[in-house]
């Protein structure tokens, strides 16, 4: 089940809305926005629901602090209110809320709206991962155990296609076509890139191996 954070100063609202949400999500409730912000420093959620009207810090204020929190994963944030006036809804969208939930909304619609945005969000940070290595496809970045590893674009593309084909082998011709968009790259060029890649990921438990006449693949080190 997906983890959901729900912040609302009213205990009654917390109870009634979570009752609806709990049929589909793992809900963590917070009556105090500040204690939620403290948790956010070390925990990530799949979606966050914020009540708009809260005495200590209103939903918009919490929203601003969330997006400035380095540990925030970019998950969808919903604003929730019984004040369903145009101005309140508009302000929510202007702030960047992914949706506005009125308290008059039917439970089924509430769940459908939250679910559909979570699904989008998950497609939203496209990444490939294997044994501690991670390729962030939106930002064209590579990490090993969360440490940024600098690659050239060619190296990034080689790794990308090897991870996509893993655990299968990819033929040299097909790799060359995908990475260089030509058929004339020298073997020695390919082997140099592969050698460089292997040295950049020395501690990774996989290495790139070349099988003569068959192709190239990732193999777990013994």
């Amino acid at each position: 089940m997906k983890d959901l954070a729900y912040v609302d100063d009213s205990k009654d609202n917390l109870d009634s809305v979570s009752l609806v949400l709990e049929s589909c999500f793992n809900v963590e409730t917070f009556q105090n926005p500040l204690s939620f912000l403290n948790v956010l420093v070390q925990k990530q959620f799949n979606a966050i629901l914020l009540d708009v009207h809260m005495p200590l810090l209103d939903g918009f204020g919490v929203f601003e602090r969330i997006v400035n929190e380095p540990n925030y994963n970019g998950c969808p944030i919903f604003l929730l209110s019984s004040d369903e006036t145009d101005s309140n809804r508009l302000k929510s969208f202007e702030f960047g809320a992914v949706d506005f939930i009125g308290r008059s909304m039917m439970p089924e619609e509430l769940i459908a709206r939250v679910e559909s945005k979570i699904i989008y969000f998950e497609k939203n940070s496209p990444a490939l991962e294997l044994g501690g290595l991670k390729l962030d496809l939106n930002n064209v970045r590579s990490y090993y155990n969360n440490i940024d590893i600098r690659l050239t674009l060619i190296e990034f593309k080689i790794l990308f296609h090897l991870l996509k084909t893993f655990p299968e082998i990819i033929s040299k011709e097909s790799l060359v076509r995908k990475v260089w968009s030509n058929n004339s790259t020298l073997d020695s060029t390919i082997y140099t890139h592969i050698y460089n890649l292997n040295s950049k990921f020395k501690n990774w438990k996989y290495e790139i191996v070349i099988e003569r006449s068959k192709g190239i693949k990732l193999l777990e080190k013994i």
Binding site: P76, D86, R89, L90, F93, E94, G96, A97, V98, D99, M106, E108, E109, A112, R113, S116, K117, I119, Y120, F121, K123, N124, S125, P126, L137, N138, N139, V140, R141, D148, L151, T152, L153, F156, K157, F160, K178, S181
Partner: protein, 222 residues
């Protein structure tokens, strides 16, 4: 840079009024009936499609079914607009996948914000980003203008990907620099201008150009 919206409505006055509401952020391509779809999808790569739900020949869901099987459909969000909304239709629209159902009684600003919010989610997750004749394919990390392949470095690709995913903008320089190098410093701001000027040279055949003005990064038509 403006986003592209295909809007099908049998009332041309509805199309004209939406064009006015959205003119700052969108190029609205309007058509009076769904028969125009195959050619519209072929000629335009829209960032969203808006359908009048009640149309004479087919209703919105039936048109939707036709769109998603069209070979030129790019996966962008499809949304419905209607004067009267029944709860079950709205629910069905949302369940069909991250879409929304707008009531004509919504304030115009809210229609705009909701559209932008859906598109923002979509641009993050889309495998292929198309803006007029330029196309960035996250499956191959290839950038093409028309049929020509453009050779970009990894940093340039990162900058372009971030800029395209943030349209219609505006983007602050600081935000972009932070996304590329992790921190915003004077030195990195300088590097950004150099990269952008190289990119504009390489992307000369694109109908747009990346401009830096004051603290902002904008994409504007040449």
């Amino acid at each position: 840079m403006k986003l592209k919206l295909i809007y099908i409505d049998d009332s041309s006055s509805n199309i004209e009024s939406l064009k006015l509401i959205l003119e700052d952020e969108f190029n609205v391509v309007g058509a009076g009936d769904q028969s125009a779809f195959p050619s519209l999808l072929k000629d335009h790569s829209p960032h969203a499609i808006l359908l009048d739900f009640h149309m004479p020949v087919m209703n919105g869901f039936e048109v939707y079914e036709k769109i998603v099987i069209d070979k030129n459909y790019n996966g962008c969000p499809v949304l419905f607009i209607s004067g009267d909304i029944q709860d079950d239709n709205r629910l069905k629209a949302i369940k069909l996948g991250g879409m929304d159902f707008f009531s004509r009684s919504l304030p115009p600003q809210e229609v705009k914000f909701r559209l932008l919010s859906r598109i923002r989610l979509h641009l993050q997750s889309a495998a292929v980003l198309t803006f007029d004749n330029l196309c960035l394919d996250k499956n191959t990390f290839a950038v093409t203008i028309g049929t020509d392949l453009i050779d970009l470095t990894l940093i340039e690709l990162r900058v372009l990907s971030f800029i395209l995913r943030s349209q219609p903008g505006p983007i602050s320089k600081g935000q972009l620099v932070k996304a590329i190098w992790g921190e915003s410093s004077v030195q990195n701001l300088g590097k950004l201008s150099v990269h952008v000027s190289h990119m504009n040279t390489k992307l000369a055949a694109w109908k747009h150009e990346i401009r830096m003005r004051d603290d902002l990064v904008l994409v504007s038509k040449i």
